[in-house]
């Protein structure tokens, strides 16, 4: 038995109507032993005109930082992992994202992809200062990493992380962030993103399934603040009865209604237990 990652995204109805791109992104990776899934939500306001790029760079940075950690470090236990996520992986993620943003901005300097004059002015001001307009790339990022010994999670910004235990009960492992009020979100593009990164690590034996999602998946829920609980528990039931392939096949369909009714882009990433697979490296 090993871990398998599945993920899917759907462009929100409001973005379809306004001819905006899907500003969410996702990425999965596995080496057959450890598995990573990351999702990200580029900010929707015009000030963040390159956030679709920012979210892609965010999931790339998250996966790269976790891969590097898995390759280089052998933690002794969950406390050790937590410490490493805070001191190594989080800073590495932020550094990689900022470097990738700088590189992208350098390559695309002057490109007319900003739709608002204010945005263009801001980019020109930033360019005049010799600074990278990081705000244009603003994005959240959420990632799960599952190994035979532990399951870890990182989150910066809104969205949800949900763990389902071996008994089928769902819970949210992340500490609450009072800055997330539905109107604003913390972000990779803020001055001190590490201050808003949240972490959780639990023994793998306690976890049956874990999911991360962008806020678009929950924004239209009308069944109360604990909407994530039946999502996690139903998902675990699907996994138990149909297996990972069944979940992977159904996942895109499960995103349709939240994206069409809620209007925002919707992305979900899942790690779940699965019979051992041939080495799979997916993007």
């Amino acid at each position: 038995m090993t871990w398998r990652a599945v993920a899917a995204t759907r462009r929100g109805a409001s973005h379809v109507r306004r001819d905006l791109p899907n500003q969410d992104a996702h990425r999965t990776w596995t080496d057959g032993t450890a598995t990573v899934v990351a999702v990200a939500d580029g900010h929707g306001a015009a000030r963040h005109a390159r956030s679709d790029v920012g979210s892609r760079l965010a999931v790339d940075a998250a996966v790269a930082a976790l891969r590097a950690y898995l390759t280089e470090v052998e933690p002794a236990g969950t406390a050790d992992v937590h410490h490493h996520l805070v001191t190594v992986v989080g800073p590495e993620l932020v550094t990689r994202w900022r470097e990738a943003v700088a590189e992208h901005a350098d390559r695309h300097d002057g490109r007319q992809d900003a739709q608002q004059d204010a945005q263009q002015d801001a980019q020109q001001d930033a360019a005049a200062d010799g600074a990278v307009d990081v705000l244009a790339y603003g994005s959240t990022v959420l990632a799960l990493v599952a190994t035979p010994s532990w399951v870890g999670a990182l989150q910066l910004g809104d969205g949800e992380v949900v763990l389902v235990d071996r008994g089928g009960a769902a819970r949210r492992p992340m500490p609450l962030d009072p800055l997330l009020d539905g109107a604003t979100t913390t972000s990779l593009c803020q001055d001190d993103p590490l201050a808003s990164l949240r972490y959780a690590v639990v023994p793998a034996a306690e976890v049956d399934l874990a999911l991360v999602c962008t806020d678009g998946f929950g924004v239209s829920r009308v069944d109360g603040p604990d909407w994530w609980r039946p999502v996690g528990e139903q998902l675990a039931h699907h996994a138990a009865t149909g297996g990972a392939d069944h979940v992977a096949e159904r996942l895109p369909g499960w995103l349709e209604e939240p994206a069409d009714v809620g209007g925002d882009d919707v992305t979900v990433g899942i790690v779940l237990r699965s019979p051992a697979q041939p080495d799979e490296r997916s993007a």
Binding site: G44, A45, D117, L135, G182, T184
Partner: protein, 235 residues
């Protein structure tokens, strides 16, 4: 049949609250008539905005204030069902903005309670229109009202916009209400400008509130370029 994971989904409410100065000075120079005209003309544009955002349910409330504040339209009303009933300014009515903000804060506290019970909405949008310097004869000044408003989660997270009517409008108070230097305070000096300002504010507020961003407002609609004669001037 819907392929659903988890519970039901639905359109999320977006509350738009119009806070309107109906003090005695609004009777001068046809200001109240211009405000009524502006709101009547803006409603169809708001309906268009709502149709363009079918994932939101745009609900409108109207709070008036003069010597006392009162709810002109207390029930959050779908914009599709709203018809504008002309308002009258209060003769000799003062500009008790602080008291109005306290009443507004109570409504925001109700939204906080709804959110806590799982009936979340987008951050509300509030548009304040005033033509004069606030008074505080009731003992509740603007600072007190703002403190009450910002003590609520919904009030603090709201997209707040403000429009001045004529040169006597107290722009520092309106600026204070907005609380964001990146959001302009608009001042209308004639009826046509008031229509343009109301149209901008309604559109910017409804869009900004439904578009979470790193910054608190997310206002992405450029303000209108106001031209024309200064009809209202100073008192």
């Amino acid at each position: 049949m819907t392929d659903r994971l988890g519970g039901a989904v639905g359109r999320r409410p977006l509350h738009l609250v119009l806070v309107l100065d109906l003090s005695g000075s609004m009777r001068r120079g046809g200001r109240i008539q211009a405000l009524n005209t502006a709101l009547r003309e803006v409603l169809p544009r708001l309906r268009d905005e709502a149709r363009a955002n079918p994932h939101t349910r745009l609900l409108v409330r109207v709070l008036g204030f003069a010597t006392q504040p009162w709810w002109v339209l207390a029930t959050p009303t779908p914009v599709e069902e709203l018809t504008w009933q002309p308002l009258e300014a209060v003769p000799q009515g003062l500009t008790e903005l602080g008291s109005a903000l306290v009443l507004l804060a109570d409504a925001m506290a109700d939204l906080d309670a709804e959110a806590a019970s799982g009936h979340g909405a987008y951050p509300p949008a509030i548009v304040l229109v005033s033509d004069g310097r606030p008074t505080a004869t009731t003992g509740t000044d603007v600072a007190t009202g703002m403190a009450r408003l910002l003590a609520t989660r919904a009030g603090a997270g709201a997209v707040r916009l403000a429009l001045g009517v004529g040169r006597d409008a107290d722009l520092p108070s309106l600026r204070r209400f907005i609380g964001d230097d990146e959001v302009p305070v608009l001042r209308a000096d004639n009826p046509e400008q008031l229509v343009e300002c109301m149209a901008w504010a309604s559109r910017a507020a409804s869009r900004g509130a439904s578009m979470p961003a790193l910054t608190s407002t997310g206002i992405s609609v450029l303000p209108p370029e106001l031209t024309g004669e200064d009809v209202w001037g100073s008192a």
